[in-house]
Symmetry: C2
Subunit: 554 residues, 2 copies
C-alpha cells in the first residue's frame, strides 16, 4: 500500500478540553507520528467524583511509541500542556515548545522527575523542525496566553496548517499580534488541510481586541471606593497586565494571590515577555495598605473551591479580608458547568456587602478564541483543500463544517478516535480507534470505563449497605447476620432502625435456607443482597448498593 | 407585649426555588399565621446526590400547627406548589388557590391520599378570605403560567402586598394580562410592605411580552424542512399555545410528549383556560405523518435525564426518531446549573444531524419575571413603606434593596430564617429562626444536615473500604483481617492488589497489638481505620472512607 497522511484526534474533538492530536505519514500501520498537544480536562461531581484530573487515553500512541517523532505543544493552557507530565514517560519523544510554553512544560515534567532536556525550545517560522517525514514550523498567533502558535506541518503529501487556539487580535497587549501577512505567506502555495479551532463558531460578532477593555477596567478601578479584587485565568498574562496597569493608574498597589497567579507571572517574567508590570506587594504588606489603594489579583475565576477567590469569599485569605464597600471583578467568562461554583462565590460576597461586577457582556472581558466572522477570515486566507474543525464539542465541529461549506470549502466532522486519511482530494475515514479518558485518581491512572468511578457514583446515588455473616465449621450461620448502613436513613416506614429490619428479614431467610444455598458463596451472597435491597426498598423507597461478606470458619 | 405583624421566609429568600413564606399577626410568640406557597427545589449531584426532591424545613411551622390559619398558593409552578403534597399533613390548614392552581394542588395532595376538599378554590379581588386577623385577596398578575396571583394581605397593622412571581405583560397570550389600574387601586390607601419578586433585578432591559415571540417561532416552523421538536416548561401554557399555533400555521400536526406536558394541557383544558389549542395527535398516529407536517412538543427543556427530549436525543421515544434535517427548538432559557445536561442533549442531536435552535438571545423565548425597569415601575405604583425583596439569591435581594433605595424606598434584605417585624415605621429583625432544607430521599424525609447525604458524597469522592475482623472466644484475632474495596483502584504503586497490601499492614498491626487494644472495640476500630487509610494513601494517593466491622465470637 502507498504512504498516506493521517490525522487522528485522541482528545479535543467532540469536547472542549483535553487536546491531543496525532498526525502521521507513511505506510498504513507504520506511519511516523507526531503528537500535537497533550492536555487535560477537569473532573466534575456529575461524572467523575473524586477524580483529580482527566487525561486523554494514549494507549494507541503508547503501543506505537517507537513511531513517535516528537510532541509539539502549541501553547501553555492546561487543556494543551497539562498532561505532559503525566503522559510523557509512556511516549518518550522530545517535546517542542516556544520559550514561555517550554518554561511551563518543564515545570510539569520536573514534578514527575523528568529532566529539563526533554523540552526543546523552538524558534518560530521560518525555522523548521525535522521530524521524520515531517517538517514542522511554529507560526505565532494571538490568543489569551503569550507565545501561542499554530503549526505548519509539511509532509510529502502537502502542507497542513494546525491553527492552534487563536483569535484575531492585532493589539493583544502581551504576546504576538495577529499577523495576516504571515498566514497569507504560508498559505500561498496551497494548503492541503486546515485543522481549525471551533470554540466560538456560534458567536456572530467579530472578536474584540484585548486592548478594548483597558479603558472600562481603568474607569472601574478609579471609581471603586474600597478594595478591589480582580480575578481572571492566571495564564492570561495580557489581562493581568491590563488589570495591574489599571490598578496602578488608580493609585492602587497590586498583590497577587494564588499559587497559579504567582507561578504564571514568574514564568512570564523569566521569559522576558512581561515588561512594564508594576511591582507587587506581598499579602503581609498588603494588610497595611489603605483599602482604596489596593488591588488583589486572585485565582479562582471559575469558582474553584480552594482558589483564592473562594477563600476570600468565605472569610479571609492570608490575613486579607473583604468587607462592605469593596468591589470584586470577574474579568472572565464562566465556562459552562462552572456556574454553580461562581454563583456561590457571588452570593457569599453579596452577604459581606461586596459589590460584584462580572464581565458585563464584554465590557471587562474578551474571549481568546476566533468568532464566526474571524473563522471565515481564516478560511479565506488559508483556502485549504480540506477543513477539519477541532477544539469543539460535536455541535461546534458540525457548525464549523457548515460554515466552511457555505464558503465553498470541503469539510469533515472528525471526532476523537476518527482517523482521517488526508492523502486524497477528499478526506476519508481510514479507521476508528478506541479512545476515551484516563482518570488521575489520587496517584493512580484508571480508565474512565473501568467501573471504579461508576461504583462511587452508585454509592452516592443509592447509599451503601454492608451485610456480614459468619458460617461456622459445620456450615451453619453463626449468630445473626449483621447490617451496617452508610449514607442511608437510619429509620424508614416501620419506625424501627433500618439495619434491624433488614437483619430480621435476612435471618428469616437463613432460617429457611437449605444446605445447598449455605454452602455456595455466590448463591448465598446473591440471595442476601437481593433480600437486603428488596427490604430496603419497602422501608425507605430506595435500593442501596450492597456488599455481602461471608466469613467461613475452619 | 403589643401585637405585631411579622414576615418570615422559610424558603425562597437567599435562593431561587423552594418558596415558603410566613406572615403572622398577634402577640409575640402567639401570632396567628398564614403560609404563602410551599414549593420544592431540585437536587443535584454536587450537593445532594441521590435525593429525589428538596423541600423547605417546616419544623418551625409544624410546632405552631394550631396557629396556622391557611396556606395560600400563588401559582402552580413546582417551586411554589411542589411541596404541598409532602408537607400538608404536618400543617393541616386549608389550602387556597385559584382554579388552575387548585387543580394542580389537588393532584399533588391526591398522590398522598389527601381529600380534594383540602383545597378551596378562591375568587379574585375584591373577594377576601377571612383568616384570623388577616383578610387575604388574590390579585391576578401576569407570569409564565396561567392564573398567577399576588396577594393583598390586610392586617390590623396595615396592608401587605405579596407580589408573587410576576412580569409586566399586557398581552400574555394565556392568563391574566398585567392590570396596572388594579395594582394602583389596591395601593392607593397606602401599603405597609411590598414583598417582591427579585429574579430578574440584574436584567436591564424592560421585559417583553409573550406575544413578541409568536412571529419568529411561526417563521421558524414554516421554514424548517423536516420534523420540528420544541421544548419548553410544560406549565408555560401560553408558550405551548404559541408553539402549537405556529405549528398549525405551518401545516404541522401537534403531538405532546412527556407526562408533565400532557398533564398540564389536561389541567388547563379542564379549567377552561386553554381555548383555541389545536387538536393533538397521539405518538402512534404521529409516526404516520410526514415529518414536514409534524411538530413534537416535548418535556425536558432543562436537560432532565429522563424527559422526552433526553430520550429523543438518545435514539427514540415512543417510536418517534429524529434524523438529519430535523429541527429542535429550545424555547426556553437554561437555568444556571443545568448547562451540562442541556449541552449533552444538544451534542447528541448534533451527532444525529439535527439542527438545534436555542432562545437566540430572546427571539424564541421571553422570561416570566419582571426585569429591573419593571420592578421600578412596580415600586412606583405600590409606593410601599417597606420593600422586602424575595424570590432571589442573596445577590438579587441585595441588588433589589439598592434599587428600591435609589427610588427612595426603605428596604431590607431578609433571607430564610430572618423574622422581620413590619409593625413599626422601620423593618427590624425580630428573631433568627433555624431553617434549612429537607430532602425527600426515596420515601423518607431527612434533614439536609443529618449527615446521610454527606456520607454519600464522601464515598463518591474518596471511595469506600470495608475491613472485617473476627475475634475469637479468647479475645484473639481469628484468622486474618479481610478487606473489600468499592470505588477504588484494584492496584496501586506496589503493583500488588490494594486489598492485599492493606490486609498485610493490618495483620502486622494485629500481631503487635496488646490485649488492651484487642478487647476495646472503639480503640481497635479506630486503629484499624487509621492504618487502612494511611496504607491506602501510600498505595493510591487517597484516603478512602473506611467501615470497620469487628465480630466477636462467643
Amino acid at each position: 500500500m502507498s504512504d498516506r497522511l493521517i490525522y487522528l484526534p485522541l482528545g479535543g474533538a467532540g469536547e472542549i478540553g483535553m487536546n491531543a492530536y496525532v498526525y502521521g505519514y507513511g505506510a498504513p500501520g507504520a506511519e511516523r507520528l507526531i503528537v500535537v498537544d497533550l492536555g487535560v480536562t477537569f473532573p466534575d461531581m456529575d461524572g467523575s467524583p473524586g477524580v483529580d484530573l482527566i487525561l486523554p487515553d494514549i494507549a494507541w500512541l503508547e503501543e506505537r511509541k517507537a513511531q513517535i517523532e516528537g510532541i509539539f505543544i502549541t501553547h501553555a493552557h492546561e487543556d494543551h500542556v497539562g498532561a505532559v507530565g503525566h503522559c510523557w514517560e509512556r511516549l518518550g519523544a522530545p517535546v517542542y515548545a516556544r520559550p514561555f510554553t517550554a518554561n511551563i512544560a518543564r515545570r510539569k515534567l520536573g514534578e514527575h522527575g523528568h529532566p529539563e532536556g526533554v523540552v526543546q525550545v523552538v524558534d518560530t517560522y521560518p525555522h523548521q523542525i525535522d521530524c521524520g517525514p515531517f517538517k514542522v514550523s511554529y507560526l505565532p498567533i494571538s490568543h489569551s496566553i503569550p507565545e501561542s502558535a499554530g503549526l505548519v506541518i509539511d509532509s510529502p503529501d502537502g502542507r497542513v496548517l494546525h491553527s492552534g487556539d487563536f483569535k484575531i487580535d492585532e493589539t493583544p497587549v502581551v504576546g504576538d499580534p495577529w499577523d495576516e501577512a504571515l498566514w497569507t505567506e504560508v498559505s500561498k502555495d496551497g494548503v492541503k488541510a486546515l485543522i481549525c479551532d471551533s470554540t466560538n463558531v456560534f458567536t456572530q460578532a467579530p472578536g474584540r481586541s484585548e486592548t478594548t477593555i483597558a479603558e472600562p477596567i481603568t474607569a472601574l478601578m478609579g471609581e471603586a471606593k474600597g478594595m478591589v479584587v480582580a480575578t481572571t485565568f492566571a495564564s492570561n498574562i495580557a489581562r493581568l497586565k491590563t488589570l495591574a496597569l489599571a490598578a496602578q493608574a488608580a493609585g492602587r498597589s497590586v498583590c497577587l494571590l494564588g499559587r497559579a497567579m504567582r507561578r504564571m507571572v514568574e514564568a512570564a517574567t523569566q521569559e522576558g515577555i512581561l515588561d512594564g508590570f508594576p511591582a507587587t506587594v506581598s499579602p503581609e504588606d498588603a494588610q497595611n495598605i489603605p483599602r482604596e489603594n489596593l488591588m488583589l489579583l486572585v485565582t479562582g475565576s471559575q469558582g474553584e473551591r480552594r482558589a483564592a477567590s473562594a477563600q476570600l469569599a468565605q472569610g479571609s485569605y492570608l490575613g486579607l479580608k473583604l468587607k462592605e464597600g469593596d468591589t470584586f471583578l470577574f474579568s472572565s467568562k464562566t465556562i459552562p458547568g462552572n456556574e454553580r461554583g461562581v454563583i456561590r462565590i457571588m452570593n457569599q460576597l453579596s452577604e459581606m456587602g461586596v459589590d460584584v461586577v462580572d464581565d458585563a457582556g464584554g465590557k471587562y472581558h474578551v474571549s481568546g478564541h476566533a468568532n464566526r466572522p474571524d473563522l471565515q477570515r481564516m478560511h479565506q486566507i488559508v483556502k485549504p483543500q480540506i477543513l477539519v474543525p477541532m477544539h469543539g464539542e460535536h455541535r461546534h465541529l458540525r457548525e464549523h463544517v457548515k460554515l466552511g461549506n457555505a464558503g465553498g470549502l470541503t469539510g469533515i466532522v472528525a471526532v476523537n478516535g476518527m482517523m482521517i486519511d488526508l492523502s486524497g482530494n477528499q478526506p476519508t475515514v481510514a479507521e476508528y480507534i478506541e479512545t476515551g479518558r484516563t482518570y488521575l485518581d489520587g496517584s493512580v491512572q484508571i480508565g474512565a470505563l473501568d467501573g471504579i468511578v461508576r461504583n462511587r457514583i452508585r454509592m452516592a446515588l443509592n447509599g451503601h449497605m454492608i451485610v456480614t455473616l459468619i458460617i461456622d465449621e459445620d456450615g451453619d450461620p453463626l449468630g445473626e447476620p449483621w447490617v451496617e448502613i452508610n449514607g442511608l436513613p437510619e429509620v424508614g416506614s416501620s419506625n424501627t432502625p433500618l439495619a434491624e429490619v433488614i437483619e430480621e428479614d435476612l435471618s428469616q431467610f437463613l432460617g429457611r435456607a437449605d444446605d445447598k444455598t449455605l454452602i455456595d458463596d455466590d448463591k448465598l451472597e446473591k440471595e442476601l443482597r437481593s433480600i437486603a435491597r428488596r427490604s430496603a426498598q419497602g422501608e425507605i423507597g430506595k435500593k442501596p448498593e450492597v456488599t455481602v461478606i461471608v466469613s467461613r470458619l475452619g
